[in-house]
């Protein structure tokens, strides 16, 4: 059965097109009671930085209509502890591991990638370019085509492993950023990261999140994510990993028809930890019902 689910992305062969969205699945361990990393076509880790990041003050998450806000602040133990703790855990599984990389400067990103290059368990990287660029006054790398290009090109030089760049949706023209990272040497793009949002507690009259603003994710953002995947598919020729609000097989199929080669589930796992399995089953069933030989045939079909 798995042949029909197989996809190729950035030189990696994935047994199925479903990935966990970075930051929602930790380094894989926490969801073991429900499924192992091998459920996914590839594992995408939580963001890893060169030194440990403490993250934002609580509250860090808050529910919104059909969605949620998070302001974790990319808390992570840094690349050394990642190597010591996460890699040995992931090693025994057969699923490719894509390490999500975060940084405050281009050098940060490069340093993480260089440190990880020699570990065979690391199959590739996903650059989270929604991080604030401290050298450019804290504006996110991913909101300016030139910054996006530069960080991509610098990391490209630092590795021959598959390089995926994860785009921020908080931009006027997502295709300009996608083109910039394609030019910078990315093998694939993933989108979308979270939409910037906030919530206010009317009793305390204060923003709910410790960080004031946070990232909106979940089904609420799906229409925006889908539109961006659709637009980017027309603009670039490298493959797309689509995400943003996927909660069902139908959602996943929408992204694939919009042009995604693979898809990721994040907040949908919080809604129901059994959702990834249900999505895979649902996609298989759809392929069978509709008599489709391979999921790859559906890629971008909504453009025809």
């Amino acid at each position: 059965m798995n042949e029909s689910m197989q996809v190729e992305i950035a030189g990696l062969t994935l047994k199925n097109p479903l990935l966990p969205a970075s930051g929602t699945y930790g380094y894989g361990r926490e969801y073991l009671p429900f499924f192992t990393p091998d459920l996914f076509g590839a594992v995408v880790t939580k963001g890893v930085s060169v030194t440990p990041w403490v993250g934002n003050p609580p509250p860090r998450v808050y529910e919104t209509p059909s969605g949620m806000l998070n302001a974790i602040g990319l808390q992570n133990p840094g690349v050394e502890r990642f190597i010591a703790e996460a890699l040995p855990f992931l090693e025994p599984y057969r699923t490719p591991v894509i390490v999500n990389v975060v940084g405050k400067t281009i050098e940060d990103y490069v340093a993480v990638v260089e440190r990880l290059n020699d570990f065979p368990v690391v199959s590739g990287y996903e650059l989270n370019i929604s991080c604030p660029n401290v050298k450019e006054g804290g504006i996110a790398f991913g909101t300016q085509p030139d910054c996006a290009f530069q960080v991509t090109a610098a990391v490209r030089k630092a590795t021959r492993k598959p390089l995926i760049v994860k785009l921020s949706p908080n931009v006027t023209d997502i295709t300009a950023i996608a083109k910039a990272v394609e030019e910078g040497g990315a093998d694939a793009v993933s989108l979308i990261n979270t939409l910037l949002g906030m919530a206010i507690d009317i009793r305390s009259r204060k923003p709910v999140l410790g960080n004031v603003v946070g990232g909106l994710s979940g089904p609420a953002v799906k229409p925006v994510a889908l539109r961006m995947v659709y637009q980017v598919y027309k603009a670039i020729s490298i493959p797309i990993i689509g995400m943003g609000g996927i909660c069902s097989a139908a959602d996943a199929l929408e992204f694939i028809m919009a042009g995604a080669t693979a898809v990721a589930i994040g907040t949908g796992m919080f809604h129901d930890p059994m959702q990834p399995q249900k999505i895979l089953d649902g996609i298989r069933e759809f392929l069978k019902d509709e008599n489709i030989g391979s999921i790859a045939e559906l890629k971008g079909i909504a453009h025809d």
């Binding site: 009671p33 429900f34 993250g55 609580p58 998450v61 529910e63 209509p65 796992m269």
Partner: protein, 258 residues
């Protein structure tokens, strides 16, 4: 931790806005320990709002029946949706989540301090250790907010009540009531669950009397499994996850802001 469709085998309205449910979920009951909680899905099939599950403490564990009991208060749309469920309905839950309580070998006299809907996990603890010497200090706004007293009686745990409006027991804060009793006859250990201001006051008392103990915390949660780092609290050792590093923390470890 297991995910299951639990059957609601008992549903009782304990008072305005207070509900008791007994849930048949043998896989989870099998694993459950006092102080742990379950995550209850609050949206039905076909709706994605509210999106996230709600954490509710385990009130009673019945391994023989394979059931867990919970008590909760309706405060918002999520808890109100749970309250709409009827006996015989199924509800999607997962758990048990969290570290739960671990009592030191020797605890002497243990004060359990409950504020409002913080009582349930303390009951599961007391029920689990029938041989220990517990005293419950139970504070609420009003007499109607103090639940399940018969169950505490049956358990043989003495309790002292405090209400903000004086409608039951001591007229004032539960921590003041504790202090009065402590001055008369000291305790050796304290465990508290309730609203933040109460927990902070308890922590101050623990410091004042140099008592060891534990606090059970609450936080907004997303994944409920330790993956998202969304539910962190501030501790003397940095940020910790309430869902899996807690909800029970050493009483001296929690850092309250301001």
């Amino acid at each position: 931790m297991r995910q299951t469709e639990a059957l609601i085998v008992e549903r009782t309205v304990l008072g305005p806005g207070y509900y008791y449910y007994r849930l048949l979920c043998p896989e989870i009951a099998e694993l459950a320990k006092p102080g742990q909680f379950i995550e209850i899905k609050v949206s039905s099939e076909g709706t994605l709002d509210p999106l996230l599950s709600r954490p509710i403490s385990i009130y009673r564990i019945d391994r023989k029946e394979g059931s867990l009991a919970v008590i909760f208060k309706t405060v918002g749309r999520g808890t109100r949706r749970i309250a709409e469920l009827k006996m015989g309905n199924q509800v999607s839950i997962f758990g048990p989540v969290g570290n739960g309580f671990t009592l030191p070998e020797e605890t002497g006299r243990i004060a359990l301090i409950a504020g409002g809907i913080g009582m349930p996990p303390l009951f599961s603890l007391a029920e689990h250790y029938p041989e220990r010497d517990f005293t419950l200090f139970y504070g609420g706004r009003s007499a109607g907010d103090l639940l399940g007293l018969e169950a505490w009686e049956k358990l043989g745990v003495p309790y002292r009540l405090a209400t903000d409006d004086g409608s039951a027991g001591f007229h004032g804060l539960v921590t003041a009531l504790f202090e009065k009793e402590y001055e008369a006859r000291p305790f050796d250990y304290m465990i508290a669950c309730g609203p933040k201001p109460m927990l902070r006051a308890v922590q101050q008392l623990a410091a004042k009397y140099r008592l060891p103990g534990a606090l059970s915390l609450e936080a907004y949660m997303a994944c409920g499994v330790g993956a998202c780092l969304g539910c962190t609290c501030v501790t003397t050792k940095g940020y910790k996850r309430v869902c899996v590093d807690g909800p029970v923390f050493d009483i001296s470890e929690v850092a309250f802001d301001e």
